[in-house]
C-alpha cells in the first residue's frame, strides 16, 4: 500500500500555497491534478520525439507514432476493449459524445425514433442529442432520478420501447457522483434493440471499468479527468459498429487514397481521426494509464470511498449543511448546500482558506432543477486527497456560515 503522502508527492501542483494557506484541491471532478510522470512524458515527447505521426519515415516520426499507438494499446488494456482499434482518440468526452451523435445516430434516426437519457446527465450528454433530434425529427426521453440521487430504474425501464434507438447514460454523475448500474441498463436497452452509449468521463479516474463486461456499444473517456492532459479523450466503440459508421470529419490521415473521382476511407480507428491529432496529449494519457495501474484501482477506489464516508459524516455534522443526492453508490463527490449562504459566496470564502471547490450548476441544469436548486457546492475527491483536506473544508464552511449564515 502506498502511503497518502507519497501519492500526494507525485503531484507537483498540489504543493503550493494560496494566499498563505496550504492548497486543498477538492475539484477533481472538474479536472484532476497531473502526476509528475504525466508532465514528464509530455516534456520528454516535445524535447526529444516531436514529429508528425503515421507518415514520416524518419526516426522522430517513428518514435512519435510508436508513443501515440502505445497509448492506444494502454487505454484498450485499461478499459477492457477487445482490441486497440476500438479506441478512437478525440479531444475529450464531449467530442466522443458528439461523434456518436453525428456519425452514428444522425444518419440512422428518423421521425418517431427515440433517444433515452437520464435526468442526471451532463449537458454534453443532452445537447448533442437535442441537435440530432432537431436534425432527424427523433425525440428525447428522460429517465427520472430519485431523491437520494440514484436513478429511478422503473422510470428508465418504462421509457424503453421499440422506438428507442439510442440509450445514453452517465456512468457516474458529474454533479452528485451517483454510479449508475450501466451493465443492467445496457442489458435492458439491448432487449429493445437500442444502441447503448455510456459517458464515462467521471468513472475511469475512480474505478475499474470494463467495456466488454458492461457490453455497451460506445463508451466515452476524458483524459484530463483521469490524471492525463486536457484536450485528449477516447471514444471506445464496438469494432463492428465502428466499421459500419461513416467518418464525421474529413482530412488527412483518415483516408487510404484520394482522387476527385473516388476517395477511400482509412480503416478503423483512423477513419475517425482526421488531421494531425493531439500526439502529446495521447502520450500524456498513456502515462496517466501507467500511473493508475501503478497505484491500482483497488487503492484508488477504497481510499476514495473512505474519504467520502468521512466527508459525509463531517459535513452532515455541520449545522446548516445539507448533502444533495448522496446516493449509496457514489464516486467521490460531496454535493451540498449551506443554509442562507449562496454557493458562489461559499466558493469565494473557501478559496480564501486555500480550499478549491466548484460551485454552480455543474453543467447539469436539469438535475439542479430536479432538486429545486439553481446551484450547489461540489467538493470532489481523488486518490491524492486526505482526511485533513476534508477537515480544512469543514473549517472553511464554518467560516462561511459565520460570515453570512
Amino acid at each position: 500500500m502506498i502511503s497518502d503522502a507519497s501519492i500526494s508527492d507525485m503531484f507537483p501542483a498540489l504543493h503550493q500555497e494560496i494566499d498563505g494557506q496550504k492548497l486543498v484541491y477538492l475539484d477533481s471532478a472538474a479536472t484532476t491534478q497531473k502526476p509528475k510522470c504525466v508532465i514528464d512524458a509530455i516534456t520528454q515527447y516535445y524535447n526529444h520525439d516531436n514529429a508528425n505521426i503515421h507518415r514520416g519515415v524518419h526516426t522522430l516520426s517513428q518514435r512519435a507514432t510508436k508513443g501515440y499507438e502505445n497509448a492506444r494499446e494502454k487505454i484498450a488494456t485499461l478499459i477492457g476493449a477487445s482490441r486497440a482499434q476500438e479506441v478512437i482518440f478525440v479531444r475529450g468526452a464531449t467530442e466522443a459524445m458528439n461523434l456518436v451523435a453525428q456519425a452514428y445516430a444522425r444518419p440512422r434516426l428518423v421521425e418517431g425514433d427515440e433517444i433515452l437519457v437520464t435526468q442526471m446527465e451532463h449537458h454534453s450528454n443532452i445537447v448533442p442529442w437535442q441537435i440530432v433530434c432537431e436534425q432527424t425529427g427523433a425525440s428525447l426521453k428522460v429517465a427520472k432520478v430519485h431523491d437520494d440521487g440514484s436513478l429511478d430504474m422503473d422510470s428508465f425501464a418504462s421509457l424503453l420501447s421499440d422506438d428507442t434507438m439510442i440509450v445514453s447514460m452517465a456512468h457516474v454523475s458529474n454533479a452528485i457522483g451517483t454510479i449508475n448500474p450501466v451493465k443492467e441498463m445496457c442489458a435492458l436497452a439491448k432487449k429493445v434493440g437500442a444502441v447503448t452509449v455510456v459517458d464515462g468521463a467521471q468513472a475511469v479516474g475512480h474505478m475499474q471499468v470494463n467495456f466488454s463486461e458492461i457490453d455497451c456499444d460506445f463508451y466515452a473517456i476524458s483524459g484530463h479527468k483521469m490524471f492525463g492532459p486536457t484536450g485528449i479523450g477516447c471514444l471506445i466503440g464496438k469494432y463492428d459498429l465502428l466499421q459500419e459508421t461513416e467518418p464525421w470529419q474529413g482530412g488527412g490521415d483518415m483516408i487510404l487514397s484520394v482522387s476527385f473521382d473516388e476517395t477511400i476511407w482509412n480503416k478503423v480507428p483512423f477513419k475517425f481521426e482526421a488531421g494531425t491529432p493531439n500526439i502529446a496529449g495521447a502520450i500524456g494519457l498513456g502515462a496517466a494509464v501507467s500511473f493508475i495501474q501503478e497505484i491500482g484501482y483497488e487503492t484508488i477506489t477504497s481510499k476514495e470511498n473512505e474519504l467520502l464516508k468521512y466527508g459525509r459524516k463531517v459535513l452532515e455534522s455541520i449545522d446548516g449543511v445539507t448533502l444533495v443526492g448522496a446516493s449509496k453508490h457514489n464516486a467521490g463527490i460531496l454535493a451540498f448546500t449551506v443554509k442562507n449562504v449562496h454557493p458562489h459566496d461559499v466558493g469565494t470564502i473557501l478559496d480564501s482558506a486555500g480550499v478549491a471547490i466548484r460551485t454552480g450548476n455543474h453543467c447539469a441544469q436539469p438535475l439542479m432543477e430536479r432538486f429545486g436548486l439553481t446551484s450547489t457546492c461540489r467538493a470532489s475527491l481523488s486518490v491524492y486527497n486526505t482526511t485533513e483536506d476534508i477537515d480544512c473544508l469543514a473549517k472553511a464552511i464554518e467560516q462561511a456560515i459565520t460570515i453570512l449564515g
Partner: protein, 146 residues
C-alpha cells in the same frame, strides 16, 4: 483573509441578509430581467418613474450575497436620480469594481463594494442589478452579464 473582510463588509452582509428593496415597484413603469449564466442567478428589476426621474426601484430574484446587496443598495441610491445620473453612477460603479487603481468617488452605499475589485470572478455578481436596471431604462428588458 483581509481581502475577504473587505469583500464582505458589514453593510454588504446586512443588506444581503435583510434586503429592504425586494419586491415590485408600484407602478412598474419599466422592467428589466438580468441573468448571470456563470452562477444561474436571475434578477428582475422594476422601476417607477416621474418624467425623467426615478422615483422607486425594487428587485426580485435569487443570488449570492454580493449580487443581492448590490441590488438592494443600488435601489436606494437610484431613487431621485435622473436617467442620465443613473447611467453615470453605473459607469462610476463599474470603474470602482473593475479598476484596482481607481480613486473614483461614489456614494458610500456603493463604495462598500470596493473590495470586489480583488475578486475578478465576482464583478459580474456586483454589476448584475446595474446591467439590469440600465436595460430597463433603455427599454431593452433583458440584460446578461456575459
Amino acid at each position: 483573509m483581509s481581502e475577504l473582510r473587505e469583500l464582505y463588509l458589514e453593510m454588504v452582509t446586512d443588506h444581503a441578509k435583510n434586503p429592504r428593496n425586494r419586491g415590485k415597484a408600484s407602478p412598474s413603469d419599466l422592467l428589466g430581467t438580468g441573468h448571470n449564466p456563470l452562477c444561474g442567478d436571475k434578477i428582475v428589476v422594476t422601476v417607477s418613474v416621474d418624467g425623467d426621474v426615478i422615483t422607486d426601484v425594487k428587485f426580485d430574484g435569487e443570488g449570492c450575497a454580493i449580487s443581492i446587496a448590490s441590488a438592494d443598495l443600488m435601489a436606494e441610491v437610484l431613487v431621485g436620480k435622473s436617467f442620465k445620473e443613473a447611467r453615470e453612477l453605473f459607469s462610476s460603479f463599474h470603474e470602482l469594481v473593475t479598476n484596482d487603481k481607481s480613486t473614483i468617488e461614489v456614494p458610500r452605499k456603493l463604495a462598500v463594494f470596493t473590495g470586489v475589485r480583488e475578486f475578478p470572478m465576482r464583478v459580474k455578481c456586483a454589476t448584475l442589478a446595474w446591467h439590469t436596471v440600465i436595460a430597463a431604462l433603455d427599454n431593452k428588458k433583458e440584460a446578461c452579464t456575459e
